[in-house]
């Protein structure tokens, strides 16, 4: 601004301001998304037993730490590098971020993507809680942030094949890319591990109540807060009236879907089980938030409420189905919340997207793209998760010995107890 004033210098400085505004927005929302790590840690710690609390907190801490480094080192390039292998992945390169070009500094984009990658990784720990070897978990979390998440992420967000379809697959903030991927890998992990000792007696599922429901509630409040970074931040811009209007709308749809999810899970659990269950309502919030994530930019406010409501209902049935019928032991409901509702929300975009959605006269093109995106990403997550845990099981071992599981991982694996 020390140059002579001309229209051009002013335009330049206006462009600079726009970039600053976008950068602030992305960084602040990245900080909120980072905080979701604490949210996940407390949801998972609260919904498991006291004897494994140190372990679960540790896993949540380390998957972020490890993920931050490996995503920075290579993962980012796999996700955002130039298409290679026909849009299957980005070209790998070592800590190289100028492969990406956009309206904000590349490191702002990097940190935003890093906290997203870490979210996908951390979802898994909940489903595998209370029985997984610590060192195996470290290896798993390295591989998801390094390879699994970036590659399928590339398909949708890195300009890969899903983004290049005629009607591109629409997953605005990651119902599928982040949550479903995390949730389905969680599923393969939970299956590979088998249920916790005492979880099933024959055909009967036993309750293993979480040790501290307030931690669970704290976690959900933090996650809800974080989602106000997750979804509106994914706009990656705030400058100009179009962006400002968009992020405001996304804020509202996100909030309404979470609220609707809480209400419908409350009502359904009340009707089905005779009492309104807090643990279901808390999961209902998350279900609504996960489901709205794909279409938070395109659906109307009312659409958001409907999507959240559906997600809350489906959540309750998914949890009990997976537990009572499939007998897959997912201590915190990660598979239902992130896997099932992630897929659900993404598909519902095909119905509720204003303009392209079926209910808005947009025909089935979008819906088909959504199904292709969900389906292909699901196959990827399931297949890689399956192989990964198979290999880990055969090599370094997946599950702690019976005695350690019974007495608690905290003391035997870490030599520390959570409460003294």
């Amino acid at each position: 601004m020390e140059d002579a004033l001309t229209l051009d210098t002013l335009a330049k400085s206006a462009a600079d301001m726009a970039m600053s505004i976008d950068t602030i927005w992305v960084l602040v929302t990245a900080a909120l998304v980072f905080f979701m790590q604490a949210g996940f840690a407390f949801v998972e710690a609260g919904f498991t037993r006291a004897k494994n609390t140190v372990n679960i907190l540790y896993k949540n801490l380390m998957d972020f730490a490890v993920g931050s480094i490996v995503f920075w080192a290579i993962g980012f390039s796999l996700m955002f590098g130039a298409n290679t292998a026909g849009g299957f992945m980005g070209s790998p390169s070592l800590f190289n971020f100028d492969i990406w070009k956009g309206g904000i500094p590349e490191e702002a984009f990097l940190i935003f993507q890093t906290v997203f990658a870490a979210t996908a990784a951390t979802i898994v720990s909940g489903a595998m809680a209370e029985r997984t070897e610590f060192k195996t978990y470290l290896v798993y979390s390295l591989i998801i942030s390094l390879l699994i998440y970036p590659i399928s992420g590339h398909w949708t967000w890195g300009g890969g094949w899903l983004a290049s379809m005629e009607t591109p697959f629409h997953d605005f903030a990651g119902s599928t890319v982040v949550h479903m991927v995390g949730g389905l890998i969680a599923l393969t992990g939970a299956i590979a591990l088998g249920p916790r000792i005492g979880k099933y007696s024959g055909k009967r599922a036993n309750a293993i109540p979480g040790h501290n429901i307030p931690y669970g509630a704290l976690g959900v409040f933090i996650l809800w807060l974080g989602w106000f970074g997750f979804n509106p931040g994914s706009q990656l811009a705030a400058s100009g009236s179009a962006n400002a209007t968009a992020i405001s709308h996304i804020f509202v749809t996100t909030n309404l879907a979470g609220a609707a999810g809480a209400i419908s899970a409350l009502l359904i659990s009340w009707i089905r089980f005779g009492k309104p269950s807090l643990s279901f309502a808390l999961n209902g919030v998350l279900a609504g938030l996960v489901a709205i994530t794909a279409g938070c930019d395109l659906v109307s406010d009312l659409g958001a409420i409907i999507i959240g409501t559906i997600a809350g209902v489906v959540l309750v049935y998914a949890v009990t189905f997976i537990d009572n019928v499939l007998h897959i032991d997912d201590p915190v409901g990660a598979v239902s919340v992130h896997g099932v509702c992630g897929a659900l929300g993404t598909i519902l975009v095909g119905f509720f997207a204003q303009g392209s959605g079926l209910f808005y006269g947009g025909g089935t093109a979008q819906l088909v793209s959504q199904l292709i995106g969900v389906g292909s990403t699901a196959i990827w997550a399931l297949a890689t998760g399956f192989v990964l845990f198979k290999v880990l099981k055969a090599t370094i071992g997946l599950r702690v010995p019976k005695r350690i599981e019974e007495e608690g991982l905290d003391i035997y694996e870490h030599g520390e107890s959570a409460y003294n």
């Binding site: 293993i208 109540p209 979480g210 089905r272 089980f273 009990t320």
Partner: protein
């Protein structure tokens, strides 16, 4: 000397404590226990009902001189009763010896404060 162990509803603790004080019983220890008995409270966790007869109770452990057993039992009985299932139990057993750590007093003497009570 007798040991009186009373398992009462947690919610009745304050009343029992006052009744004991009124009866002149000032010394006792207590802690939280869980009890299996006739009362059942259905709990549910994420859709799985777990039948549990497990109820929070308070256990009072009171060591008294023989002459005080009766009034102690009566005081508890009165204060802890609601008439509904789950009021709890009182058990009495014998104590062979008692010591006050601070003074080394033993026997009955260790159970009351000289001067305060005859």
């Amino acid at each position: 000397m007798k040991k009186i162990e009373a398992i009462i509803r947690k919610t009745k603790f304050e009343e029992v404590r006052e009744a004991l004080l009124d009866a002149g019983i000032e010394f006792f220890s207590f802690w939280d226990v869980r009890g299996a008995g006739q009362t059942r409270e259905g709990r549910m966790y994420r859709g799985v009902v777990y039948d549990t007869s497990i109820i929070e109770r308070t256990l009072l452990s009171i060591i008294v001189r023989d002459k005080n057993v009766e009034k102690t039992v009566l005081a508890i009985m009165k204060a802890a009763r609601t008439g509904e299932i789950g009021d709890g139990k009182i058990f009495i057993s014998s104590i062979d010896e008692s010591y006050r750590i601070r003074t080394g007093e033993f026997g009955d003497e260790s159970l009351y404060i000289k001067g305060k009570e005859e």
